[in-house]
C-alpha cells in the first residue's frame, strides 16, 4: 500500500523546486546552476564526493546560506529562502550530523525548545502539557521513550530520533538528513529506515545525503549526483548501476599541470605498520612506506585517515599492533616520533602546526633546537642562518626571517611547516590534506616540494580528499573505509573511480 502511495505521490507536483541555484565563496564556486525538485512522499538521495556542493545545497535549503542566483518555488509559487525563519515557515527542517540538542535538558524540553507551552504564571512552562505534547510527537514517529529522560543519557541513534521528533513537531514537510546512518549500528539503521518509510507514507519529502551505495538503492526514489558544484544528472535507482553512479561522481576537472617523476625503484622500508588498532576507531591497519615514495592515504572524510596519521605519530594511544620505523619499533609520545624523524604536517596548520604570532625564523627552527644547539645554548645568529637557508631552499615568499608567520599566504605557511621538519631532519613526512585552503598555483609548488623531499631520500604518506591529487602525485595508495584499509592501489590501478569504489559502502 505504501508503495502505491509513494509512487502516486511521486508522480505528483513537486513540493519544493530549486531552479538555477548558484553560490560562490571567495575563490570557489560552491554551487553552479543547480536545479533540484523535491516531491512529497519521496526520498531524494543526494550523492557526490567531498566538496561536490552537498553541504552548501543543504545550508541553502535551511536558510543558513543565501543563494547568489536562482529561484525557489513552493507548490508552484515563487518564494524567497534567505533565512532560517523562512525555511521553517516552508516546513523545511535539517537534521545535521552535529545535533542541535541541549545535553542536560530532557527530551520534551529539547523538542519544544523556544516553543514551550506557557504556564499560568508568566514566563513559566506548562510542564504537564509539554510532556503530553512530546509524548504525542514521539508516539507519532514510533519512538517509545519517556519524554522526561535527559538527552545526555541517550545514544546517538536515540538522539537522532529526538532530532527527528523535533523537526516533525515543527510540522516539517521537507526533512533534510545529512548522512544520518554514519554513526548508527545495523539495527538502528533498520529503525531509521522504518521511520523514513512511515514519514514517506505521511507525505513528508526527504532529502537524504549519503555515502553508502547500498542505502541509495535501498531507500532512494530519486538520485541527484553533484560534482564540482554542478548537477551532473538526476536518475531513478532502477535506471542505473552503482558503477554508473561512481562514474558520474568522479572525473572532476582540476588543472593539474604538475609533473611528477614516479619512483621506479623504491628504496628501503622506512615505515612499516602492522595490525595497528587504536581507540579512536581504526583497526587492523597495515601500511608500508619506502624511501623515495609518496604513498596516498584516501577514503571519505571520517574513514579514519587522520586517526591513522595520529597513531603513527604517537598522538593517540595504540591498543594493538606495531609501528616499525627505520627497522626499529617505535612507541610512545609525539616527541619520541619527532626525535626519531617522523614529521606530522596537520590539516589545521594554523592551530597545530605553527605559532602564528612568531616569526618565520622562529617557526622554522623550533623543532630543530636540540639538533642545532646541542649545547642547549640558543645562538640567534646560528638560528637565523639556518632559517635563511631554509627560506631560500624552499622558496618561501617572505620579506625576511623576522616576518610574522600569520601574515604569509596559505601556501607559504605550509612551506614553513615543512621547513620546520626538514630542519629537524625528518625522514618520514605525513601530510594531512596538504593543499587544503591553498590556491592552485601554490598547490603545484607544494607538490614539487614534496617530490623533492622524497627524491632526496625521505618518504611521504599523504592524506587527501582530492582523489585527483592522489592520482597525480602518489606512487600508490591505500583506501580506507570505516576505520579499516579497504584496499591498496598500485600506480597502474590508481584512478579516481577505483578510489571512490573502494571508499564507498557496497554491502
Amino acid at each position: 500500500m505504501s508503495d502505491g502511495a509513494a509512487s502516486a505521490a511521486a508522480s505528483s507536483a513537486p513540493l519544493l523546486e530549486l531552479r538555477g541555484i548558484s553560490k560562490s565563496f571567495p575563490g570557489v564556486k560552491a554551487l553552479d546552476d543547480v536545479s533540484f525538485a523535491i516531491h512529497p512522499g519521496e526520498v531524494h538521495m543526494l550523492l557526490g564526493e567531498n566538496g561536490a556542493g552537498k553541504s552548501s545545497l543543504m545550508k541553502i535549503l535551511c536558510g543558513a546560506y543565501t543563494a547568489d542566483a536562482g529561484e525557489f518555488y513552493y507548490k508552484g509559487e515563487n518564494v524567497t529562502l534567505s533565512s532560517t525563519a523562512e525555511a521553517q515557515a516552508l516546513g523545511i527542517a535539517v537534521i545535521f550530523q552535529e545535533f542541535s540538542l541541549v545535553p542536560f535538558l530532557d527530551i520534551a524540553q529539547n523538542i519544544f525548545l523556544g516553543r514551550e507551552p506557557k504556564g499560568r504564571i508568566p514566563g513559566t512552562i506548562d510542564r504537564r502539557r509539554i510532556l503530553a505534547d512530546a509524548k504525542r510527537v514521539l508516539d507519532g514517529i514510533g519512538f517509545d521513550i519517556d519524554p522526561k529522560v535527559v538527552v545526555d543519557t541517550l545514544g546517538v541513534a536515540q538522539q537522532q530520533m529526538v532530532e527527528i521528533a523535533k523537526a516533525i513537531s515543527q510540522n516539517a514537510r521537507i526533512l533534510v538528513m545529512d548522512e544520518p546512518t554514519a554513526a548508527l549500528s545495523d539495527r538502528e539503521v533498520e529503525l531509521l529506515f522504518a521511520l523514513i518509510a512511515r514519514l514517506k507514507a505521511d507525505g513528508v519529502a526527504i532529502v537524504y545525503i549519503s555515502h553508502r551505495m547500498a542505502e541509495v538503492f535501498a531507500i532512494g526514489d530519486r538520485i541527484t549526483v553533484l560534482r564540482d558544484g554542478r548537477r551532473i544528472d538526476q536518475v531513478r535507482p532502477a535506471e542505473v548501476t552503482p558503477d554508473q553512479l561512481v562514474r558520474m561522481m568522479v572525473g572532476r576537472n582540476v588543472d593539474m599541470t604538475y609533473p611528477r617523476r614516479f619512483a621506479e625503484q623504491p628504496g628501503e622500508l622506512v615505515l612499516q605498520v602492522k595490525g595497528l588498532s587504536a581507540a579512536t576507531g581504526i583497526s587492523d591497519i597495515d601500511i608500508e612506506v619506502r624511501q623515495g615514495e609518496i604513498v596516498g592515504l584516501c577514503g571519505l572524510v571520517g574513514s579514519g585517515r587522520t586517526e591513522v596519521a595520529r597513531a603513527i605519530f604517537g598522538a593517540d594511544p595504540v591498543t594493538t599492533g606495531e609501528i616499525i620505523f627505520d627497522g626499529k619499533p617505535i612507541t610512545g609520545e609525539p616527541d619520541v616520533a619527532a626525535r626519531r624523524g617522523i614529521a606530522l604536517i596537520p590539516e589545521s596548520r594554523k592551530s597545530e602546526g605553527l605559532a602564528l604570532l612568531r616569526s618565520v625564523g622562529d617557526n622554522l627552527v623550533v623543532a630543530a633546537l636540540k639538533k642545532l644547539f646541542p649545547s642547549r645554548l640558543y645562538d640567534p645568529r646560528g638560528a637565523q642562518r639556518t632559517a635563511e637557508g631554509l627560506i631560500r631552499q624552499l622558496r618561501i615568499a617572505t620579506p625576511s626571517a623576522r616576518q610574522m608567520v600569520g601574515l604569509l599566504s596559505g601556501g607559504n605557511q605550509q612551506k614553513v611547516v615543512i621547513g620546520k621538519w626538514l630542519a629537524a631532519g625528518a625522514r618520514l613526512f605525513i601530510f594531512d590534506e596538504p593543499t587544503r585552503g591553498i590556491d592552485i598555483g601554490a598547490k603545484s609548488e607544494i607538490f614539487a616540494l614534496i617530490d623533492r623531499l622524497v627524491a632526496e631520500g625521505a618518504a611521504a604518506l599523504m592524506i587527501s580528499s582530492e582523489q585527483i591529487e592522489i592520482c597525480h602525485v602518489c606512487d600508490r595508495a591505500y583506501v580506507m573505509r570505516d576505520g579499516r584499509i579497504a584496499g591498496h592501489l598500485a600506480r597502474s590501478e590508481l584512478t579516481e573511480e577505483n578510489i571512490v569504489r573502494l571508499g564507498m559502502h557496497h554491502e
Partner: protein, 316 residues
Amino acid sequence: MSDLAIAAPLRAVQRLPGVAVVLVLLIALFGAIAPGFLSAANLSNVLVQSTILTMLALPMTLIIMTEGIDLSMGAVLTLTSLCVAIVSLATKSMLLGLGAAVLVGTAFGLANGLLVAIAKIPPFVATLATLGMAQGLSLIVSDGQSVVGIPHSVRDVYSAQLLGIPVPILMGVASYGLFHALLYHTRFGTYVFALGGNRDALRYAGLSPTRLLIAVYAIGGLMAGVAGLLMTARMNSGHPTAGLGMEFDAIAAVAVGGTSFERGNGWLLGTLLGVLAVGVLRNGLNLISLPSSVQVASVGVLVIAAMFLDGLRSRA
C-alpha cells in the same frame, strides 16, 4: 538476606553525590571534635552565616552553566555593601540603601554581561577587569575607611526573626526557592541550560544567546546588591574589604556542588549543599580556634575532595 540489608544502604551512599557525602562527613567530624558545634544555636548560626554566600552562589551556578565565570562578585558585594551603608546613613532609610545597592550591583552585572556577550571578552578577563573597578570604586567612596553609625533598621535585618526563624535564613530559603523555580520551571531557565550546552540550538530556535547571556550576568549583579544589605547589616558598618574573597567561596561552592564548567550541566541543590559544606567547614574550624587563613586553605582542600569523590564514582 543480611547481606542485602547492608549492601543496599551502601549502594545508596555510593550513589549519593560527592557534595552530600562531604557535608555529612564534615558535620560528623566537627560534631565529634568541636565543642558546641551541634548545639541548636550554633547550627542556626551556620545557616545565618551561609545566607550571603547562598545569594552569590546561586547566580554563580547559572553563570558557570553558561561556561562563564564572575570573578567580580566579591568586589561588587563590597561596593554594594558600602552603598547600603552610605545611602542609609545619609537618608536614614534602609530601603533606599537597598535600592542603591541593587542598582549598582545590577549595573555591574549588566556591564559584565555586555563585555562577555557583545564585546566577546572571555568571562575570566572581563570580570577580572570589573573586579578591579569595583574594588577601586569601593576605596574611593569609602575613602579607605569603615562607614559607621548606620541606622538600626539596617542592622535589624540581620538580627530580626519572623515566626521564630532568623530573617537571613528566610531570605536564603526564599532565594533558593526563586532560583529553583527560575532554573527548572521557566523558559529562561531552560535557555540557561542551552547557553552552555548548545548555543546553536538556541539560534535554530530563533532565540538570542546574547540577550540571555547578558541577563544571566545581570542577575548575578542584582543578587550581589541584595547580599550587600545583609553584609552591611551583619557588620553593622560598611567596610572597603567586606566582600574580599567571596567570589572564591561562591565558585568553590558551585564546584563542590557538582555543577560542571562545561556543557551546561548545572545542579542548584548541589550548590546549596556546597554552600553549607563551606559554611560548616568555616564554622567548625572557627570553633576549634583555627585562624581564617587556615579556613581559606581548607575550602581549597574541600573543592579537591568533592571533585575526587565525584571522579571516583564516575569511573566506578
